[in-house]
């Protein structure tokens, strides 16, 4: 038993630092970190690659002790924390990869994405299914990760913003969002983009009104609303040419 462990199972501290550095700040340079489209794409790929496929450290959610198997962990929880819920594992198909995830039964998908898989594109904002900032696509439908229990997601195909960004098919959509400033502070932007992808999945040639209706569940406080329609229409036109 260890008294310390890692929130993302399978990560060693030195690896975690490396991933954080790469994902958070881009290239380190004496004078700073420069961002570019290519670097963002590399970070997206790295984020997906870094998702652990298996749980290696079974950490007790109550006391933090780490066990070698789920069975051992559950035995410990039953014995040591009689009032606590029992952890379990689920297999999530995220962005084309099967990932074993250690959860508690009340965990939301949003929580699992951030705290188990290191995916932070789905954002914590309203926390009750109103703002759309945590939108992901599950089995072809846009769903809200903050109000979806992760235990209900097993066996379903989940695509997050990172998965969309990593797919070259959706480059025109990402590029159009950037060209049109369809973001200001950028916090709600991934949720909008996932919803936009869901719209285009169903209808590659939406009208402006259909876009407004499709994005009505996403709230932006920075006033970017008109930009989204412009970006999606431009992307749709470009994607139609590329088909």
């Amino acid at each position: 038993m260890l008294n310390t462990g890692f929130i993302i199972p399978g990560f060693k501290e030195e690896n975690m630092s490396k991933v954080n550095l790469q994902i958070n700040t881009g290239r380190r340079h004496d004078s700073g970190f420069s961002f570019s489209q290519d670097k963002s794409m590399a970070q997206v790929a790295e984020a997906i690659r870094s998702m652990p496929a298996n749980v290696t450290d079974f950490r007790c959610p109550t006391c933090g002790n780490i066990y070698a198997s789920l069975a051992e962990l559950r035995f410990h929880c039953k014995k040591a924390h009689t009032d606590s819920v029992l952890p379990e594992t689920v297999i999530l198909l995220i962005n084309g990869m099967n990932c074993e995830v250690l959860i508690e039964p009340h965990w939301t998908l949003k929580r699992a994405l951030q705290f188990r898989l290191g995916l932070t594109g789905a954002k914590h904002m309203c926390d009750r299914g109103v703002c759309g900032s945590c939108t992901v696509i599950m089995d072809g439908r846009a769903v809200l990760a903050c109000t979806t229990l992760v235990s209900e997601c097993e066996g379903k195909c989940i695509t997050t913003i990172e998965g969309i960004a990593a797919d070259p098919k959706w480059k025109p959509l990402v590029d159009a969002y950037c060209r049109w400033d369809a973001m200001q502070c950028g916090y709600c932007t991934p949720g909008f983009l996932v919803s936009a992808k869901a719209i285009l999945d169903k209808n590659p040639h939406p009208t402006e009104q259909e876009i407004r209706e499709g994005l009505a569940g996403n709230i932006c406080i920075c006033g970017t609303y008109p930009r989204h329609a412009a970006a999606i229409l431009e992307a749709a036109a470009k994607m139609a040419k590329e088909v």
Binding site: S31, G64, V174, Q184
Partner: protein, 791 residues
């Protein structure tokens, strides 16, 4: 009033500045989800922290028994307000009002953080531990109704804080504000002779209206993650890492007695912190907890807990305006009762701010402004945002009421009452105003009508409104610009984190413009310790910092041209390079020339007299060069002139509504915004910022308000279901026109507009124009019907 000091201020041939649809330097990171905000950080072995929140609107914690909570498995640490580590904490972030302990046992609003912090293995355990605390509360009377709070026999909710408004302080030499009495502080500014002014009036109109509070609602809930390391990269000794402290690395360093260089915040994204720099406790406490536990600690507020802050306080307004039969205002008596919020609220927006405000745009010299600021247990105002600074609503209303009374177009009333460029005695409005209203009339097919006189074909009533503003920008921030030329490319080291206003990009565009490069040629290198930060009053920060960056770019350009000549002159010596190095490039055809005989365009240095003689910038010299410029543009004219009587750039905004008198439904048919930013540096984001404020206007006047239970003082709509923000289906069309009179004081005569777009009562006056009755905002259908006598 053009104020185009500095190099190339009068430039006409723009290749980069003014371009549309250039992606922001961080846009791809944001759009792809890899941009990490402070609360996104997950560290190995991380703990979580939560504060005790008050269930009462006004209460004191008399005692806390933490025994049961401490015995819970998973609870790592519990601190109370009496612990030495907490007592010793001092915040160096932005604060208002009388000093107060960092955490104490006083809860002055429902939901306030008070008395206890729990650290545990998970947020769930924190919450359960908080439930296990044995807290003895002393409930106190509360004030959520300002009229009750201002009564002389009202319970004094903040006897410890007798401070008077910092922002509302009178001008030097003026009579001081009366001392605070009970819950009421005062902010008064009296100009001229009010009594005499009303004697000169042919008409007097009066107005009495309520203005609701408006939630700032930062999209990313405030919070932080902190940890300590022995990171060799930052030198000997412990390094404090904190993510989520927004731009406030220095206050955090001071708070924990750390050298600034060993206080690290690498994240670049702070979210929509528009004019809200106040650090929440959740952003300040994590370093202490991480130090005590030896583990990373995350403390993040819930969305519900972030409904504690507003950018527009509740206000009751009483306005009396005297004017001649021609429409010239002779006197204004403006009295309002404003929410002082909880302890530590900013007084920004109170009447002492009028040097930047609307009354100084008027010819009228007889103006009385009195405000009673009532302490309350409602919420905290960190600082005023883009929506309603400087009380512009009052002038908008005054002009509208005159126009209704006299049957005059409000634009004509504005023209009559606006003074000219330099003083209240200047008769004619500034050219920028005339340009804005001319463009606006065309844009809106402006055809003024009296209230209740125009019915649309579908049976709804048509209303229209107009307001003008000056562009009250700061221009008081100084900027430390730096550009580096290395390896053939130009780099712009820039401080992070940044918030959502595209302030970095205009600087890169200006640097590119001056250096004859493309926008993409400027490599923006973000680093938390870089000196250059373009923040400073919204787009004012962009335009003023871009002025300084323009100077810096020209300094670098001079060095590059000198270096190119030096390289050409000394090329044979340059050949003496180590054998293993690549051969140096051929020199340019610049031998024997002076720097002023050269220029740069399209990424090439060329001879002005013979443009065919050129060489790519990257090959012109093998030297690394650095240029710096510290400073700011000349102060905006109105700041130099005092009292804001000097005007230059203006803007005009219009609104059209349709009101259904059977259902009470109000539809905004369109907004129109004609804005003079002097010179539009980055039009795409400029228009987006205009949209933002228009949607703020829509929200606050049609949808948004805080609802309190008067008996308990509890907020009833602290969530995004019950507190209504406009969605994409709600917002109307916003038409824009950007004028370029080059009369600001930023780069190329640009001017910030971010503090000039307040539109309070724009929609409300349009509703009045439609139906002839006043409706208190937010004008929900039930209120409209009640005002029409139908409810």
């Amino acid at each position: 009033m053009a104020d185009l000091a500095g190099i190339n201020g009068l430039r006409e041939n723009f290749k980069v500045v003014g371009q549309r649809n250039l992606p922001g330097v961080l846009s791809h990171a944001l759009a792809t989800g890899v941009a990490k905000f402070g609360i996104d950080y997950v560290r190995p072995d991380m703990l979580h922290a939560k504060f005790l929140h008050s269930p009462y609107a006004n209460a004191r914690v008399l005692s806390v028994d933490t025994t049961k909570a401490r015995s819970m498995p998973g609870v790592v640490d519990i601190l109370t307000w009496e612990d030495e580590d907490i007592v010793n904490l001092v915040s160096y972030a932005e604060h208002w009002g009388a000093p107060r302990p960092w955490l104490d046992n006083i809860a002055d609003q429902e939901g306030a953080e008070v008395a206890v912090i729990v650290v545990a293995e998970s947020e769930d355990i924190c919450e359960e531990a908080l439930r296990q605390l044995q807290v003895e509360w002393e409930m106190l009377p509360h004030v959520v109704d300002l009229h009750e709070g201002k009564k002389t026999d009202a319970f004094v909710i903040r006897p410890q804080d007798r401070s008077t408004p910092a922002f509302g302080a009178p001008a030097p030499g003026a009579l001081p504000n009366p001392p605070k009495q009970g819950n009421v502080a005062y902010s008064n500014v009296i100009q001229g002779d009010i009594e005499e002014g009303f004697k000169q009036a042919d008409h007097i109109v009066q107005y009495d209206m309520y203005m609701p509070a408006f939630a700032s609602l930062i999209p990313n809930p405030p919070g932080s993650v902190a940890w300590w390391s022995n990171d060799f990269y930052h030198g000997e000794g412990k390094t404090l890492h904190i993510e989520g402290a927004v731009r406030e690395r220095l206050p955090i360093a001071r708070m924990y007695d750390m050298p600034l260089e060993k206080t690290v915040q690498e994240g670049l994204f702070m979210g929509g912190r528009y004019c809200d720099w106040g650090l929440r406790r959740s952003q300040e406490i994590t370093p202490l907890l991480a130090k005590r536990t030896g583990r990373p600690v995350r403390c993040v507020m819930t969305r519900e807990e972030t409904f504690d802050s507003v950018i527009m306080k509740q206000r009751y307004m009483y306005l009396k305006v005297g004017f001649t039969k021609e429409g010239l205002i002779t006197a204004i008596d403006d009295f309002s009762v404003s929410d002082g919020g909880i302890w530590g609220s900013s007084t920004f927006g109170h009447v002492g701010d009028q040097k930047q405000g609307p009354y100084n745009t008027l010819k009228c010299k007889n103006i009385s402004q009195r405000m009673e600021i009532v302490d309350s247990n409602r919420y905290k105002m960190w600082v005023s945002g883009q929506h309603t600074p400087f009380n512009w609503d009052i002038v908008t209303l005054a002009l509208y009421m005159i126009s209704e009374k006299l049957g005059m177009d409000p634009i004509e009333v504005a023209r009559l009452n606006l003074h000219g460029p330099s003083s209240k005695d200047d008769i004619n409005p500034v050219p920028s105003f005339e340009a804005c209203v001319a463009a606006g009339k065309t844009m809106m097919d402006w055809n003024w009508h009296l209230s209740g006189t125009k019915k649309l074909p579908d049976g709804r009533m048509h209303g229209m409104s107009f307001r003008y503003q000056m562009c009250p920008r700061h221009s008081v921030s100084g900027y430390k610009c730096r550009l580096e030329f290395r390896d053939g490319a130009v780099h712009m080291p820039t401080q992070g984190p940044v918030f959502g206003a595209y302030m970095v990009e205009p600087n890169a565009m200006v640097a590119a413009e001056e250096l004859g490069l493309t926008y993409e040629d400027i490599k923006v290198d973000f680093h938390y310790a870089a000196k250059f930060s373009p923040v400073g009053g919204g787009s004012d920060g962009s335009t003023a910092s871009a002025w300084a960056m323009k100077e810096c770019a020209n300094s670098l350009k001079k060095q590059i041209l000198e270096a190119a000549i030096e390289y050409a002159e000394s090329w044979p010596q340059m050949m003496m390079t180590p054998l293993n190095d690549p051969p140096p490039p051929e020199p340019g055809p610049f031998k024997g020339l002076r720097p002023d005989e050269l220029d740069i365009t399209d990424g090439k240095i060329y001879v002005k007299a013979d443009p065919e003689k050129s060489v790519p910038l990257a090959q012109a010299t093998n030297r690394d060069l650095v240029a710096t410029y510290s400073g700011r543009p000349p102060l905006a004219a109105w700041l130099v002139g005092g009292c804001g009587n000097i005007l230059d750039t203006m803007n005009a905004v219009f609104c059209e509504v349709a009101v259904d008198t059977d259902t009470g439904d109000v539809e905004i048919l369109r907004f129109g915004a004609v804005v003079d930013p002097g010179k539009a540096l980055r039009p795409t984001s400029l228009e987006s910022q205009i949209d933002q404020v228009m949607f703020f206007s829509q929200g606050s006047q049609l949808l948004e308000d805080f609802v309190f239970d008067q008996r308990t003082g509890v907020k009833l709509n602290s969530n995004m279901i019950d507190y209504k923000k406009p969605t994409m289906l709600d917002v109307p069309v916003v038409e824009h026109a950007l004028l370029e009179t080059r009369s600001g004081n930023g780069a190329y005569g640009a001017s910030g507009i971010s503090h000039s777009m307040a539109n309070t009562h724009l929609v409300i006056t349009a509703i009045h124009n439609a139906v002839g009755v006043w409706v208190d905002p937010p004008a929900t259908p039930d209120k409209v019907l009640a005002a029409l006598g139908k409810a």
